[in-house]
Protein backbone atom coordinates (compact mmCIF):
# COMPACT_ATOMS: atom_id res chain seq x y z
CA UNK A 1 0.00 0.00 0.00
CA UNK A 2 1.35 3.41 -0.95
CA UNK A 3 1.97 6.21 1.54
CA UNK A 4 -0.73 8.21 -0.28
CA UNK A 5 -3.30 5.44 0.23
CA UNK A 6 -2.37 5.30 3.90
CA UNK A 7 -2.65 9.08 4.09
CA UNK A 8 -6.18 8.78 2.65
CA UNK A 9 -7.12 6.15 5.26
CA UNK A 10 -5.70 8.47 7.88
CA UNK A 11 -7.74 11.48 6.79
CA UNK A 12 -10.93 9.40 6.58
CA UNK A 13 -10.28 8.19 10.14
CA UNK A 14 -9.78 11.78 11.29
CA UNK A 15 -13.16 12.72 9.80
CA UNK A 16 -14.81 9.68 11.45
CA UNK A 17 -13.60 10.89 14.85
CA UNK A 18 -13.68 14.68 14.32
CA UNK A 19 -16.42 15.35 11.72
CA UNK A 20 -16.12 19.10 12.39
CA UNK A 21 -12.96 19.06 10.23
CA UNK A 22 -14.84 18.06 7.06
CA UNK A 23 -14.18 21.43 5.45
CA UNK A 24 -10.47 21.17 6.07
CA UNK A 25 -8.14 20.32 3.22
CA UNK A 26 -5.62 17.98 4.83
CA UNK A 27 -1.94 18.40 4.02
CA UNK A 28 1.01 16.24 4.97
CA UNK A 29 2.48 18.91 7.22
CA UNK A 30 -0.76 19.28 9.24
CA UNK A 31 -0.45 18.36 12.90
CA UNK A 32 -3.47 17.01 14.78
CA UNK A 33 -2.52 19.09 17.83
CA UNK A 34 -2.49 22.28 15.75
CA UNK A 35 -5.86 21.32 14.26
CA UNK A 36 -7.22 21.34 17.83
CA UNK A 37 -7.71 17.56 18.12
CA UNK A 38 -7.55 16.41 21.77
CA UNK A 39 -5.41 13.56 23.09
CA UNK A 40 -8.25 11.02 23.40
CA UNK A 41 -9.43 11.78 19.86
CA UNK A 42 -5.86 11.44 18.59
CA UNK A 43 -5.71 7.98 20.17
CA UNK A 44 -9.11 7.08 18.65
CA UNK A 45 -7.86 8.11 15.21
CA UNK A 46 -4.80 5.87 15.57
CA UNK A 47 -6.94 2.93 16.73
CA UNK A 48 -9.29 3.44 13.79
CA UNK A 49 -6.63 3.72 11.11
CA UNK A 50 -4.83 0.62 12.43
CA UNK A 51 -8.14 -1.27 12.22
CA UNK A 52 -8.70 -0.08 8.64
CA UNK A 53 -5.16 -1.12 7.70
CA UNK A 54 -5.57 -4.42 9.64
CA UNK A 55 -2.27 -3.53 11.22
CA UNK A 56 -1.68 -5.21 14.59
CA UNK A 57 1.07 -3.22 16.26
CA UNK A 58 1.23 -1.69 19.75
CA UNK A 59 -0.34 1.77 19.79
CA UNK A 60 2.75 3.09 21.57
CA UNK A 61 4.80 2.29 18.42
CA UNK A 62 2.84 4.97 16.55
CA UNK A 63 4.15 7.69 18.88
CA UNK A 64 6.71 10.14 17.52
CA UNK A 65 5.63 11.64 14.17
CA UNK A 66 5.18 15.42 14.14
CA UNK A 67 2.65 15.63 11.33
CA UNK A 68 0.26 13.55 9.22
CA UNK A 69 2.83 12.88 6.49
CA UNK A 70 5.32 11.48 8.99
CA UNK A 71 2.57 9.36 10.56
CA UNK A 72 1.56 7.96 7.15
CA UNK A 73 5.22 7.13 6.42
CA UNK A 74 5.57 5.39 9.79
CA UNK A 75 2.40 3.37 9.24
CA UNK A 76 3.61 2.40 5.76
CA UNK A 77 6.93 1.15 7.13
CA UNK A 78 5.12 -0.81 9.86
CA UNK A 79 2.72 -2.35 7.35
CA UNK A 80 5.64 -3.55 5.25
CA UNK A 81 7.23 -5.27 8.26
CA UNK A 82 4.13 -6.92 9.69
Amino acid sequence: MSAQQIFDYLTSSILDVVPELNEHEFRKNDSLVNLGVGSMERADIIIMVLEKLRLKIPLAETYGPNNLGELADLLQSKSQIS
Binding site: S39, M40, A43, I46, I47, L59, A60, Y63
Partner: protein, 420 residues
Protein backbone atom coordinates in the same frame (compact mmCIF):
# COMPACT_ATOMS: atom_id res chain seq x y z
CA UNK B 1 -6.71 -23.78 49.33
CA UNK B 2 -7.55 -20.98 51.77
CA UNK B 3 -9.70 -18.05 50.68
CA UNK B 4 -7.94 -14.72 50.38
CA UNK B 5 -8.84 -11.11 49.76
CA UNK B 6 -9.66 -7.80 51.38
CA UNK B 7 -10.95 -8.11 54.94
CA UNK B 8 -11.27 -4.34 55.33
CA UNK B 9 -10.35 -1.20 53.40
CA UNK B 10 -10.46 2.54 53.94
CA UNK B 11 -9.52 5.76 52.18
CA UNK B 12 -8.23 9.15 53.27
CA UNK B 13 -8.50 12.09 50.88
CA UNK B 14 -6.75 14.94 52.71
CA UNK B 15 -7.87 18.28 54.13
CA UNK B 16 -7.87 20.75 51.25
CA UNK B 17 -9.02 20.66 47.65
CA UNK B 18 -9.24 22.80 44.56
CA UNK B 19 -12.13 23.00 42.12
CA UNK B 20 -10.24 22.00 38.98
CA UNK B 21 -12.47 24.03 36.64
CA UNK B 22 -11.30 27.17 38.50
CA UNK B 23 -7.69 26.12 37.91
CA UNK B 24 -8.46 25.43 34.24
CA UNK B 25 -9.94 28.93 33.85
CA UNK B 26 -6.96 30.48 35.61
CA UNK B 27 -4.44 28.59 33.44
CA UNK B 28 -6.57 29.38 30.34
CA UNK B 29 -6.95 25.74 29.28
CA UNK B 30 -9.23 25.07 26.32
CA UNK B 31 -12.69 24.63 27.96
CA UNK B 32 -13.93 22.07 25.40
CA UNK B 33 -10.89 19.88 25.83
CA UNK B 34 -10.93 20.29 29.60
CA UNK B 35 -14.59 19.17 29.80
CA UNK B 36 -13.67 15.89 28.09
CA UNK B 37 -11.16 15.06 30.83
CA UNK B 38 -14.04 14.47 33.31
CA UNK B 39 -12.12 15.99 36.23
CA UNK B 40 -13.92 17.78 39.08
CA UNK B 41 -11.79 18.31 42.21
CA UNK B 42 -8.23 17.59 43.26
CA UNK B 43 -6.93 17.16 46.76
CA UNK B 44 -3.99 19.47 47.42
CA UNK B 45 -1.64 18.34 50.19
CA UNK B 46 -1.00 20.87 52.94
CA UNK B 47 2.59 21.26 54.13
CA UNK B 48 1.66 19.32 57.27
CA UNK B 49 0.51 16.38 55.14
CA UNK B 50 2.86 13.88 53.54
CA UNK B 51 2.64 10.28 52.28
CA UNK B 52 2.96 9.08 55.88
CA UNK B 53 0.04 11.11 57.27
CA UNK B 54 -2.14 10.05 54.33
CA UNK B 55 -1.19 6.40 54.89
CA UNK B 56 -1.75 6.43 58.65
CA UNK B 57 -5.03 8.34 58.36
CA UNK B 58 -6.28 5.82 55.78
CA UNK B 59 -5.37 2.80 57.91
CA UNK B 60 -6.27 4.08 61.40
CA UNK B 61 -10.03 3.27 61.31
CA UNK B 62 -9.16 -0.27 60.19
CA UNK B 63 -6.69 -0.76 63.04
CA UNK B 64 -9.10 0.79 65.56
CA UNK B 65 -11.65 -1.87 64.60
CA UNK B 66 -9.31 -4.78 65.37
CA UNK B 67 -8.65 -6.63 68.64
CA UNK B 68 -5.13 -6.51 70.11
CA UNK B 69 -4.67 -10.12 68.98
CA UNK B 70 -5.68 -9.29 65.43
CA UNK B 71 -3.36 -6.27 65.34
CA UNK B 72 -0.52 -8.55 66.42
CA UNK B 73 -1.37 -10.93 63.58
CA UNK B 74 -0.38 -8.26 61.01
CA UNK B 75 2.99 -9.70 59.98
CA UNK B 76 3.45 -7.81 56.74
CA UNK B 77 3.22 -4.06 56.11
CA UNK B 78 3.80 -2.87 52.55
CA UNK B 79 3.67 0.82 51.70
CA UNK B 80 3.26 1.42 47.97
CA UNK B 81 4.28 4.83 46.65
CA UNK B 82 6.09 6.95 44.12
CA UNK B 83 6.17 9.84 46.60
CA UNK B 84 8.83 8.53 49.00
CA UNK B 85 10.65 10.88 51.35
CA UNK B 86 13.99 9.06 51.62
CA UNK B 87 16.05 6.83 49.29
CA UNK B 88 16.80 4.35 52.10
CA UNK B 89 14.37 4.59 54.99
CA UNK B 90 10.97 3.31 54.01
CA UNK B 91 7.89 5.29 54.99
CA UNK B 92 6.48 2.02 56.30
CA UNK B 93 8.69 2.46 59.39
CA UNK B 94 6.84 5.62 60.43
CA UNK B 95 3.47 4.10 59.49
CA UNK B 96 4.24 1.00 61.55
CA UNK B 97 5.08 3.17 64.56
CA UNK B 98 2.04 5.47 64.46
CA UNK B 99 -0.35 2.55 63.90
CA UNK B 100 1.15 0.65 66.86
CA UNK B 101 1.82 -2.58 64.95
CA UNK B 102 3.75 -5.55 66.32
CA UNK B 103 7.53 -5.49 66.06
CA UNK B 104 7.32 -9.00 64.58
CA UNK B 105 6.28 -7.58 61.25
CA UNK B 106 7.98 -7.33 57.87
CA UNK B 107 7.87 -3.81 56.52
CA UNK B 108 9.06 -2.24 53.32
CA UNK B 109 8.19 0.17 50.53
CA UNK B 110 7.37 -0.80 46.98
CA UNK B 111 7.56 1.22 43.76
CA UNK B 112 6.24 0.83 40.22
CA UNK B 113 4.52 4.15 39.43
CA UNK B 114 0.72 3.84 39.54
CA UNK B 115 0.90 0.02 39.54
CA UNK B 116 2.42 -0.01 43.05
CA UNK B 117 -0.86 -0.54 44.93
CA UNK B 118 -1.71 -3.57 42.83
CA UNK B 119 1.83 -4.90 43.18
CA UNK B 120 1.58 -4.62 46.97
CA UNK B 121 -1.89 -6.15 47.02
CA UNK B 122 -0.85 -9.12 44.88
CA UNK B 123 2.26 -9.72 47.02
CA UNK B 124 0.09 -9.71 50.14
CA UNK B 125 -2.38 -12.12 48.50
CA UNK B 126 0.47 -14.50 47.73
CA UNK B 127 1.85 -14.20 51.29
CA UNK B 128 -1.54 -15.32 52.63
CA UNK B 129 -1.90 -18.08 50.02
CA UNK B 130 1.60 -19.42 50.81
CA UNK B 131 0.40 -20.28 54.35
CA UNK B 132 3.93 -19.91 55.66
CA UNK B 133 2.33 -18.24 58.69
CA UNK B 134 -1.27 -19.47 58.95
CA UNK B 135 -3.67 -16.85 60.30
CA UNK B 136 -1.32 -13.93 59.61
CA UNK B 137 -2.70 -10.76 58.04
CA UNK B 138 -1.07 -8.18 55.77
CA UNK B 139 -1.61 -4.43 55.70
CA UNK B 140 -1.06 -2.81 52.29
CA UNK B 141 -1.21 0.96 52.03
CA UNK B 142 -0.94 2.75 48.70
CA UNK B 143 -0.20 6.42 49.37
CA UNK B 144 0.74 9.08 46.85
CA UNK B 145 0.70 12.81 46.32
CA UNK B 146 1.91 15.46 43.94
CA UNK B 147 3.63 18.40 45.58
CA UNK B 148 4.92 20.84 43.02
CA UNK B 149 6.93 23.93 43.74
CA UNK B 150 7.12 27.12 41.76
CA UNK B 151 8.27 30.60 42.64
CA UNK B 152 5.43 33.07 42.89
CA UNK B 153 4.70 34.76 39.57
CA UNK B 154 6.73 32.28 37.51
CA UNK B 155 5.09 30.75 34.42
CA UNK B 156 3.76 27.31 35.37
CA UNK B 157 3.29 26.26 31.73
CA UNK B 158 7.06 25.90 31.27
CA UNK B 159 7.40 23.46 34.20
CA UNK B 160 7.91 19.75 33.41
CA UNK B 161 4.87 18.90 35.53
CA UNK B 162 2.42 21.40 34.00
CA UNK B 163 0.75 18.75 31.77
CA UNK B 164 -0.26 16.79 34.87
CA UNK B 165 -1.26 19.72 37.10
CA UNK B 166 -5.06 19.55 36.65
CA UNK B 167 -5.27 15.79 37.18
CA UNK B 168 -2.83 14.97 39.97
CA UNK B 169 -4.10 14.77 43.54
CA UNK B 170 -3.28 13.24 46.90
CA UNK B 171 -4.68 10.37 48.94
CA UNK B 172 -4.17 6.90 50.34
CA UNK B 173 -6.05 3.61 50.38
CA UNK B 174 -5.36 0.99 53.05
CA UNK B 175 -6.20 -2.71 52.61
CA UNK B 176 -6.23 -5.39 55.28
CA UNK B 177 -5.53 -8.61 53.38
CA UNK B 178 -6.25 -11.94 55.03
CA UNK B 179 -7.94 -15.36 54.92
CA UNK B 180 -11.22 -13.60 55.78
CA UNK B 181 -12.10 -11.74 52.57
CA UNK B 182 -15.20 -10.00 53.92
CA UNK B 183 -15.08 -7.15 51.41
CA UNK B 184 -13.47 -8.51 48.23
CA UNK B 185 -12.77 -12.22 47.68
CA UNK B 186 -9.92 -12.57 45.20
CA UNK B 187 -10.32 -14.90 42.19
CA UNK B 188 -7.10 -16.82 42.84
CA UNK B 189 -4.95 -17.24 39.73
CA UNK B 190 -7.20 -14.97 37.69
CA UNK B 191 -4.51 -12.47 36.74
CA UNK B 192 -3.35 -11.16 33.40
CA UNK B 193 -0.16 -9.10 33.59
CA UNK B 194 1.50 -7.18 30.78
CA UNK B 195 4.49 -4.84 30.82
CA UNK B 196 7.52 -3.54 28.90
CA UNK B 197 9.98 -0.63 29.02
CA UNK B 198 8.53 2.68 27.88
CA UNK B 199 9.45 6.26 28.87
CA UNK B 200 5.96 7.65 29.25
CA UNK B 201 5.64 9.41 32.60
CA UNK B 202 8.14 9.34 35.43
CA UNK B 203 9.65 11.18 38.40
CA UNK B 204 13.33 11.59 37.56
CA UNK B 205 13.64 14.60 39.88
CA UNK B 206 12.50 15.22 43.44
CA UNK B 207 9.18 17.09 43.77
CA UNK B 208 8.50 17.06 40.05
CA UNK B 209 7.13 14.91 37.27
CA UNK B 210 8.08 14.55 33.66
CA UNK B 211 6.92 12.65 30.66
CA UNK B 212 4.64 12.55 27.73
CA UNK B 213 0.89 12.37 28.21
CA UNK B 214 0.22 11.16 24.63
CA UNK B 215 2.65 8.25 24.85
CA UNK B 216 1.28 7.34 28.27
CA UNK B 217 -2.27 7.28 26.94
CA UNK B 218 -1.29 5.00 24.05
CA UNK B 219 0.62 2.69 26.38
CA UNK B 220 -2.31 2.60 28.84
CA UNK B 221 -4.70 1.67 26.00
CA UNK B 222 -2.37 -1.08 24.77
CA UNK B 223 -2.05 -2.52 28.25
CA UNK B 224 -5.77 -2.27 28.98
CA UNK B 225 -6.47 -4.63 26.09
CA UNK B 226 -3.43 -6.91 26.40
CA UNK B 227 -3.71 -7.46 30.17
CA UNK B 228 -7.33 -8.54 29.75
CA UNK B 229 -6.45 -10.84 26.82
CA UNK B 230 -3.82 -12.52 29.03
CA UNK B 231 -6.41 -12.89 31.81
CA UNK B 232 -8.82 -14.43 29.27
CA UNK B 233 -6.16 -16.96 28.22
CA UNK B 234 -6.01 -18.22 31.79
CA UNK B 235 -9.72 -18.29 32.60
CA UNK B 236 -12.10 -20.41 30.52
CA UNK B 237 -15.05 -18.76 28.81
CA UNK B 238 -14.52 -15.33 30.29
CA UNK B 239 -16.52 -12.52 28.68
CA UNK B 240 -15.44 -8.85 29.02
CA UNK B 241 -19.08 -7.87 29.48
CA UNK B 242 -20.93 -10.71 31.21
CA UNK B 243 -18.26 -12.04 33.58
CA UNK B 244 -17.87 -8.73 35.45
CA UNK B 245 -20.81 -6.76 36.81
CA UNK B 246 -18.47 -3.80 37.42
CA UNK B 247 -15.08 -2.64 36.17
CA UNK B 248 -12.61 -0.61 38.27
CA UNK B 249 -9.88 1.20 36.35
CA UNK B 250 -6.69 3.00 37.23
CA UNK B 251 -8.07 6.53 36.81
CA UNK B 252 -5.54 9.24 35.90
CA UNK B 253 -8.65 11.18 34.84
CA UNK B 254 -12.14 10.07 33.90
CA UNK B 255 -11.79 10.82 30.19
CA UNK B 256 -8.91 8.36 29.88
CA UNK B 257 -10.97 5.61 31.49
CA UNK B 258 -13.88 6.39 29.19
CA UNK B 259 -11.58 6.08 26.17
CA UNK B 260 -10.02 2.82 27.39
CA UNK B 261 -13.41 1.28 28.10
CA UNK B 262 -14.68 2.37 24.67
CA UNK B 263 -11.60 0.94 22.96
CA UNK B 264 -11.85 -2.43 24.73
CA UNK B 265 -15.61 -2.73 24.19
CA UNK B 266 -15.12 -2.08 20.47
CA UNK B 267 -12.05 -4.28 20.01
CA UNK B 268 -13.01 -7.20 22.23
CA UNK B 269 -16.79 -7.26 21.80
CA UNK B 270 -17.45 -5.20 18.66
CA UNK B 271 -19.96 -3.16 20.68
CA UNK B 272 -21.90 -0.24 19.17
CA UNK B 273 -21.50 3.35 20.47
CA UNK B 274 -24.93 3.20 22.20
CA UNK B 275 -24.09 -0.11 23.87
CA UNK B 276 -20.71 1.27 24.98
CA UNK B 277 -22.24 4.39 26.56
CA UNK B 278 -24.84 2.38 28.44
CA UNK B 279 -22.23 -0.09 29.64
CA UNK B 280 -19.95 2.75 30.78
CA UNK B 281 -22.73 4.27 32.88
CA UNK B 282 -23.67 0.93 34.42
CA UNK B 283 -20.34 -0.77 35.05
CA UNK B 284 -17.66 1.93 35.13
CA UNK B 285 -19.16 5.19 36.39
CA UNK B 286 -19.59 4.06 40.05
CA UNK B 287 -15.80 3.63 40.24
CA UNK B 288 -15.11 7.17 39.02
CA UNK B 289 -17.09 8.89 41.79
CA UNK B 290 -14.38 9.22 44.49
CA UNK B 291 -11.56 9.40 41.91
CA UNK B 292 -13.12 12.56 40.44
CA UNK B 293 -13.05 14.21 43.86
CA UNK B 294 -9.35 13.79 44.68
CA UNK B 295 -7.57 13.50 41.32
CA UNK B 296 -5.01 10.91 40.35
CA UNK B 297 -3.56 9.35 43.49
CA UNK B 298 -1.24 7.16 41.45
CA UNK B 299 -0.51 3.84 43.19
CA UNK B 300 -3.76 4.07 45.13
CA UNK B 301 -6.05 5.06 42.26
CA UNK B 302 -7.23 1.65 41.08
CA UNK B 303 -7.91 0.70 44.71
CA UNK B 304 -9.90 3.92 45.16
CA UNK B 305 -11.87 3.05 42.04
CA UNK B 306 -12.55 -0.39 43.54
CA UNK B 307 -13.67 1.19 46.83
CA UNK B 308 -15.81 3.75 44.99
CA UNK B 309 -17.43 0.93 43.00
CA UNK B 310 -18.28 -1.01 46.15
CA UNK B 311 -19.59 2.06 48.01
CA UNK B 312 -21.67 3.39 45.10
CA UNK B 313 -23.21 0.25 43.58
CA UNK B 314 -25.90 -2.26 44.28
CA UNK B 315 -24.60 -5.41 45.99
CA UNK B 316 -27.84 -7.03 47.06
CA UNK B 317 -26.50 -10.02 45.12
CA UNK B 318 -22.85 -11.12 45.00
CA UNK B 319 -21.08 -9.51 42.07
CA UNK B 320 -17.69 -9.77 40.39
CA UNK B 321 -15.51 -6.72 39.80
CA UNK B 322 -12.74 -6.70 37.19
CA UNK B 323 -9.84 -4.38 38.02
CA UNK B 324 -7.36 -2.86 35.57
CA UNK B 325 -4.16 -1.42 37.00
CA UNK B 326 -1.52 0.47 34.99
CA UNK B 327 1.77 1.97 36.14
CA UNK B 328 3.92 4.00 33.75
CA UNK B 329 7.21 2.59 32.76
CA UNK B 330 5.34 0.16 32.52
CA UNK B 331 3.52 -2.71 34.19
CA UNK B 332 -0.19 -3.48 34.12
CA UNK B 333 -2.58 -6.13 35.35
CA UNK B 334 -6.20 -7.20 35.02
CA UNK B 335 -7.53 -9.17 38.01
CA UNK B 336 -10.86 -9.80 39.65
CA UNK B 337 -12.74 -10.66 42.79
CA UNK B 338 -16.22 -11.05 44.21
CA UNK B 339 -18.07 -8.71 46.55
CA UNK B 340 -20.70 -10.35 48.71
CA UNK B 341 -24.03 -8.75 49.44
CA UNK B 342 -23.98 -8.28 53.19
CA UNK B 343 -20.33 -7.50 53.76
CA UNK B 344 -20.04 -4.55 51.38
CA UNK B 345 -22.08 -2.51 53.85
CA UNK B 346 -19.29 -2.77 56.42
CA UNK B 347 -17.31 -0.14 54.54
CA UNK B 348 -17.35 3.32 56.09
CA UNK B 349 -19.08 5.08 53.19
CA UNK B 350 -20.49 7.84 55.41
CA UNK B 351 -17.14 8.54 57.04
CA UNK B 352 -15.35 8.59 53.66
CA UNK B 353 -17.87 11.04 52.21
CA UNK B 354 -18.01 13.22 55.34
CA UNK B 355 -14.24 13.51 55.21
CA UNK B 356 -14.28 14.47 51.51
CA UNK B 357 -17.13 16.94 52.06
CA UNK B 358 -15.33 18.46 55.06
CA UNK B 359 -12.18 19.42 53.15
CA UNK B 360 -11.29 23.08 52.89
CA UNK B 361 -11.85 24.58 49.43
CA UNK B 362 -8.77 26.51 48.38
CA UNK B 363 -9.05 29.55 46.16
CA UNK B 364 -6.66 29.64 43.23
CA UNK B 365 -4.68 32.35 45.06
CA UNK B 366 -4.34 30.16 48.15
CA UNK B 367 -3.32 27.27 45.91
CA UNK B 368 -0.65 29.44 44.28
CA UNK B 369 0.61 30.40 47.75
CA UNK B 370 0.95 26.70 48.59
CA UNK B 371 2.90 26.06 45.37
CA UNK B 372 5.37 28.65 46.54
CA UNK B 373 5.41 27.54 50.23
CA UNK B 374 6.01 23.91 49.19
CA UNK B 375 9.73 24.67 48.93
CA UNK B 376 9.79 24.56 52.76
CA UNK B 377 9.22 20.80 52.68
CA UNK B 378 11.01 19.84 49.47
CA UNK B 379 12.70 16.44 49.27
CA UNK B 380 15.68 16.34 51.62
CA UNK B 381 14.45 19.03 54.05
CA UNK B 382 16.58 18.81 57.20
CA UNK B 383 14.71 21.05 59.64
CA UNK B 384 11.27 22.64 59.51
CA UNK B 385 8.45 23.66 61.88
CA UNK B 386 5.01 22.98 60.43
CA UNK B 387 2.42 23.58 63.13
CA UNK B 388 1.10 26.68 61.38
CA UNK B 389 0.02 24.41 58.51
CA UNK B 390 -1.93 22.03 60.81
CA UNK B 391 -5.31 20.94 59.38
CA UNK B 392 -7.13 22.76 62.19
CA UNK B 393 -5.83 26.07 60.79
CA UNK B 394 -7.80 25.42 57.62
CA UNK B 395 -10.86 23.55 58.82
CA UNK B 396 -12.92 25.27 61.51
CA UNK B 397 -15.51 22.50 61.93
CA UNK B 398 -14.76 19.33 63.85
CA UNK B 399 -12.75 16.79 61.86
CA UNK B 400 -14.55 13.52 61.02
CA UNK B 401 -11.91 11.58 63.00
CA UNK B 402 -8.62 12.47 64.75
CA UNK B 403 -5.85 12.85 62.22
CA UNK B 404 -2.11 12.54 62.17
CA UNK B 405 -0.22 15.55 60.83
CA UNK B 406 3.43 16.49 60.42
CA UNK B 407 4.56 18.79 63.21
CA UNK B 408 8.23 19.21 62.45
CA UNK B 409 11.26 17.82 60.71
CA UNK B 410 14.33 17.73 62.93
CA UNK B 411 17.63 16.49 61.53
CA UNK B 412 15.66 14.76 58.75
CA UNK B 413 13.53 12.86 61.29
CA UNK B 414 9.82 13.51 60.92
CA UNK B 415 7.74 14.15 64.03
CA UNK B 416 3.98 13.79 63.86
CA UNK B 417 1.13 14.51 66.22
CA UNK B 418 -2.60 13.77 66.36
CA UNK B 419 -5.25 16.46 66.05
CA UNK B 420 -7.35 16.66 69.17
Amino acid sequence: MVEVGIEDMHFFGGNAYLDVSELADYRQLNPDRFAKLLIKEKTVPLLSEDPITFAVNAAKPIIDGLSAKDIDSIELLITCTESGIDFGKSISTYVHDYLGLSKNCRMFELKQACYSGTAGFQMAVNFILSQTSPGAKALVIATDLSRHTVEKGKDVSVMDWSYAEPSTGAGAVALLVSEIPSIFKVDVGANGYYGYEVMDTCRPLADSEAGNADLSLLSYLDCCEKAFLEYAKRINQVCYKNSFQYLAFHTPFGGMVKGAHRSNMRKILGASPIEIDEDFNNRVLPGLNYCQRVGNIMGATVLLSLLSTICNSDFRLSKRIGCFSYGSGCCSEFYSGVVDASDAQRLRKELIEAQLDGRYQLTVDEYEDLLSDNSNVSFGTRNCELEKYAPSNYISSELATPQLFLKKIKDFHREYTWTT
